[in-house]
Symmetry: C2
Subunit: 216 residues, 2 copies
């Protein structure tokens, strides 16, 4: 059996760590790209936040980007401009880098995922404008790269991960009173991704924003 490789950008975050463990257990060799090392990954590439990333990979890989972060506030927030910078670095920069990686190193018919967010699909996000604008850019970037002329290899399957709220320790800490039964478990995301990597016939429509858990 050939080695199964995978690149996970954001491999040291809550969802990224879960994905690394999940795919390691399923026999994959993982390159984690993040600001800190994930000792469980087979290889690590450490980058500064939003740093451009260029390395020469051997072979072809699925490319999953689950880098992210969140910041709130509207245009009157004194930190608004700084928040836009932060949100762009967290989501749009990492998406640009992974698009570029995917164009050159994605497997034919391979899986490509960018980190979107369900709330922006419904329009305005006045309580988190910087975050929403950055995620809107990511969704638009994904819809563009998923077209025939977007630059990805033939048959690539591209999705924007768009959970409403992921069930992470951080989200539980900051939303202690929330109804977590409506949150998306990390294991759900991992199982979906593995299914889509391994069973192309079960993939959703190429280019979709995949809203978890309602219409996966």
């Amino acid at each position: 059996m050939a080695t199964k490789n995978m690149i996970i950008y954001g491999g040291a975050g809550a969802l990224g760590r879960h994905l690394v463990e999940h795919f390691k257990a399923a026999g994959y060799s993982i390159i984690s790209v993040d600001r800190v090392e994930n000792a469980n990954a087979d290889k690590n590439v450490i980058v500064l936040q939003g740093q451009a990333l260029f390395f020469v990979l051997r072979g072809k890989h699925p490319v999953i980007n689950v880098a992210g972060g969140w910041c709130g506030g509207n245009a009157a927030d004194d930190k608004f401009v700084a928040n836009v910078d932060l949100a762009l670095r967290q989501s749009v920069w990492t998406s640009a880098i992974t698009c570029s990686l995917a164009a050159k190193f994605l497997k034919e018919n391979g899986l490509f995922v960018l980190p979107g967010a369900a709330p922006v699909l419904d329009g305005a996000t006045s309580g988190m404008i910087a975050y929403g604008a950055a995620k809107a850019a990511v969704h638009h970037m994904l819809s563009s790269v998923s077209t025939k002329d977007g630059g990805l290899p033939e048959g690539a399957a591209s999705y924007c991960l768009a959970p409403v709220i992921l069930d992470t320790p951080m989200n539980r800490k900051f939303m202690p009173k929330a109804d977590t039964t409506k949150w998306t478990p990390l294991s759900y995301v991992a199982e979906k991704f593995q299914c889509w990597v391994e069973k192309p016939d079960q993939r959703p429509k190429n280019g979709s924003g995949t809203v978890f858990p309602d219409n996966p």
Copy 2:
């Protein structure tokens, strides 16, 4: 008659220069913000591309951002990541800065404009992915700040300028064979803006992407 002030971000570009001249002739005092001086403006604030901008203004002003630029290419372009950086600086950074200015210095019921682009309203832009993603962020930012809780002063009228192609010398140079009768004249944009500044009852719906010249 009270002094009529206006902030034009991108006041040294093709459209910006036209707006400065137009509003000067209409009796406005103009602060141009751009990377180079516009000697026709009453005051200039020179910034680096995408530089955050903080100054203390006296009084309240309409805020019009027509900063921009264009770059093409899909995810396979070797300059893709650099193009994303460029497009974010040109459009999203300047929009973040003008949102922050508008939250603090926009007149009550004042006009606020961000630089969008009509093609992104229709979805994917595979031939200009970086540009499209940046403009999608701008449109989303505009839709968010235009809501009740977006942070702008009461009654603000916010629009995303969304021309298909503006009739500028640069566009004529790079598209010598295009049918320029379908392009939007700069004078059309200037007259619309003046109308919206001075006649609130003639403004389109707050928060809209104003596609020129079809549905201004």
